[in-house]
């Protein structure tokens, strides 16, 4: 039976949450398409592959010293070896930093169409129709592939995480991994020793809507202090140097789950939402009524933040 193949992602011996979400996705899509779910796992040995087998019935493992650390060349060659040795209909990859780095390379090696950054799949007439965010999350689109096989990447949270409990079979696949053109020297922590906002019960975050660094400091920090919380930021604020990187909430920064998260002048791009959507109560203040942040907030005020925040300060 044709397979829907997850490519597992791991770092420091731990599977990513995204991989468990892909296992759930593979089972759902395979069942709708009359295929079977499977995974491929690459590493220096089969220890992580055995872990993957708790979540999906069939795991193909490529073990090679050259695969000890992730590289796009290594992963693409290993993926190709598994795909060539099996009847693979579709390949599922996480829209993570590693996933973005190698997914299109796998699609090119297969000659397949790729639909990236998906959040949903419907199967119509036996073929998958993918839904994905565009225009900074303001518009969604549906896409299909024109090729027989497909590659799709999924944004974090598109599917629930699959629970462990199975005892799948691990099959070794041999591959010759050669000509790896990038060499990993080290992985460094860029925020070591800095403030940790992830334990705060209340976080007030500011975004691009604050306009400049002085206004960010004048508006966001006093409100955070008055509420007894910490202040945070979306990526553009940190990129512009208005506050330190350790306060960045989102995919490339901190993941936070406070009781109250106030998103002020933040549009709600998926990369930011990934880091705060688990908050108990989300408040959004934004002058753009179509900002995607209003799709995940509990309460929203559509207005100029520079008029609303002083009023909040006065009434607290």
């Amino acid at each position: 039976m044709a397979k829907i193949l997850v490519i597992a992602e791991h770092r420091d011996g731990k599977l990513s949450d995204g991989t468990l979400e892909l296992c759930k996705a593979a089972k759902t899509i395979a069942s709708a398409m009359g295929c079977e779910p499977a995974a491929a796992c690459f590493g220096k040995d089969d220890s992580i592959a055995k872990e993957v087998a708790k979540y999906i019935p069939t795991v193909f493992c490529v073990a090679d010293a050259a695969l000890e650390k992730y590289t796009s060349d290594g992963y693409a060659q290993a993926a190709k070896a598994v795909i060539d040795s099996q009847d693979v209909k579709g390949v599922l990859i996480a829209q993570s930093y590693d996933g973005v780095d190698f997914a299109a390379k796998v699609a090119m090696a297969m000659g397949a169409g790729i639909v990236s950054n998906c959040n949903k799949v419907a199967v119509e007439g036996g073929a998958p129709v993918f839904t994905r965010n565009t225009y900074n999350g303001k518009i969604q689109e549906q896409k299909k592939v024109k090729t027989d096989k497909f590659v799709a990447t999924f944004e974090k949270g598109a599917y629930e995480m699959e629970a462990a409990g199975g005892a799948g079979a691990v099959t070794a696949v041999s591959a010759s991994i050669s000509n790896v053109r990038t060499k990993v020297k080290e992985v460094i922590a860029t925020m070591a020793g800095a403030v940790d906002i992830s334990q705060a019960k209340i976080i007030v975050s500011g975004g691009r809507g604050l306009k400049d660094g002085d206004k960010y400091k004048d508006v966001i920090i006093p409100l955070a202090k008055k509420l007894g919380g910490e202040y945070g930021a979306s990526r553009p604020v940190v990129d512009s140097g208005w506050t330190e990187a350790a306060r960045q909430v989102g995919q490339s920064g901190k993941t936070v789950t406070p009781d109250l998260y106030m998103a002020i002048g933040i549009s709600g791009a998926i990369q930011h939402v990934a880091g705060m959507k688990g908050s108990k109560c989300i408040v959004a203040i934004n002058k753009d009524p179509e900002a995607p942040i209003f799709n995940i907030a509990a309460y929203g005020i559509v207005a100029d933040l520079f008029e609303v925040v002083p009023q909040l300060m006065e009434n607290l």
């Binding site: 770092r11 796009s72 930093y97 590693d98 973005v100 780095d101 997914a103 299109a104 390379k105 699609a107 090119m108 169409g113 990236s116 129709v129 965010n133 565009t134 225009y135 999350g137 303001k138 518009i139 969604q140 689109e141 549906q142 896409k143 299909k144 024109k146 090729t147 990038t182 990993v184 020297k185 992985v187 922590a189 860029t190 209340i202 509420l227 990526r235 990129d239 140097g241 990187a245 960045q248 490339s252 901190k254 993941t255 009781d259 109250l260 549009s267 108990k280 989300i282 995607p292 209003f294 799709n295 509990a298 309460y299 929203g300 005020i301 207005a303 609303v308 909040l312 006065e314 607290l316």
Partner: protein, 256 residues
């Protein structure tokens, strides 16, 4: 160093978008600008040129309106450019664009480095740069947040989740996708804007480049997201809304 920057013109994401027949956005309602991430790529290229000499070439696929933003990059300091202006490419997918970029770059010849933004703000695909690397037979690195080049040897930091960076060594020629925040993109100067008007911008069609316009994916439709968990919008003037919000946070959500 001969550096190519792949640039895309995109709508301003704060526009009030309207969708026509579920197929396209109403362009008459939006302003266009350089894709944010590509601005950082242009700046990275200009800094490398200032340090090592050479030239910066802009390659962009886009209709007539895109010329304005290619010239914006010229005004920042890029030397010349190629605009792939072809309705068949506009209608194509990332793969079609990657093929056109490949042929244009091969046509330039002797390119040491190709820089792209991490993704386009409009299609949010983040696949074209990696496809381009594969087509050019070059190594690549995505989400680059730091870049040191000495001769053909490069040390690059690739951004990872949760504040981590992977430090990589690789050799030029290569394709790098540049992440926002790596530098501070410059604003064009008035003399820069004057010079930009006279810089060479070659127009090409896919057929001029010998590139196919056959897509591997197909657009079905576009629509505004429907959320089952839309925020309760608190109405009224700022003072009334602020009071009502505080009341709700205290007495309904009980979080302050």
């Amino acid at each position: 160093m001969k550096i190519v920057v792949c640039l895309k013109q995109v709508p301003d994401m704060e526009s009030n978008f309207k969708i026509i027949d579920g197929k396209s956005i109403d362009e008459s309602q939006v302003a266009f600008k350089i894709n944010d991430f590509d601005n950082y790529a242009v700046e990275a290229a200009l800094q490398l040129k200032e340090k090592n000499g050479g030239e910066v070439i802009i390659v962009s696929a886009g209709p007539d309106r895109a010329a304005k933003d290619i010239r914006q990059a010229f005004a920042m300091g890029a030397d010349w450019g190629i605009q792939i202006n072809d309705p068949a490419v506009q209608a194509g997918d990332n793969f079609v664009v990657a093929q056109c970029l490949q042929k244009a770059i091969q046509g330039i010849g002797g390119v040491d480095l190709v820089l792209t933004g991490v993704q386009a703000e409009d299609d949010q695909a983040a696949v074209t740069g990696v496809m381009l690397a594969e087509l050019l037979g070059m190594p690549h690195c995505t989400n680059v947040v730091k870049l040191d080049i000495s001769g053909a040897n490069m040390t690059v930091n690739r951004e990872l989740e949760g504040g981590l960076n992977e430090v990589l060594e690789m050799s030029a020629p290569a394709v790098l996708s540049i992440q926002s925040g790596i530098n501070e993109p410059r604003y064009p100067t008035l003399p820069g804007i004057m010079k930009a008007k006279k810089k060479q911008l070659d127009a090409k069609k896919a057929s001029d480049l010998g590139a196919s316009t056959d897509s591997k994916t197909e657009f079905v439709k576009m629509f505004f997201p429907v959320s089952d968990k839309k925020a309760e919008i608190i109405k009224g003037d700022p003072a009334t809304a602020a009071k009502a919000l505080i009341d709700k946070l205290k007495n309904e959500a009980k979080v302050i």
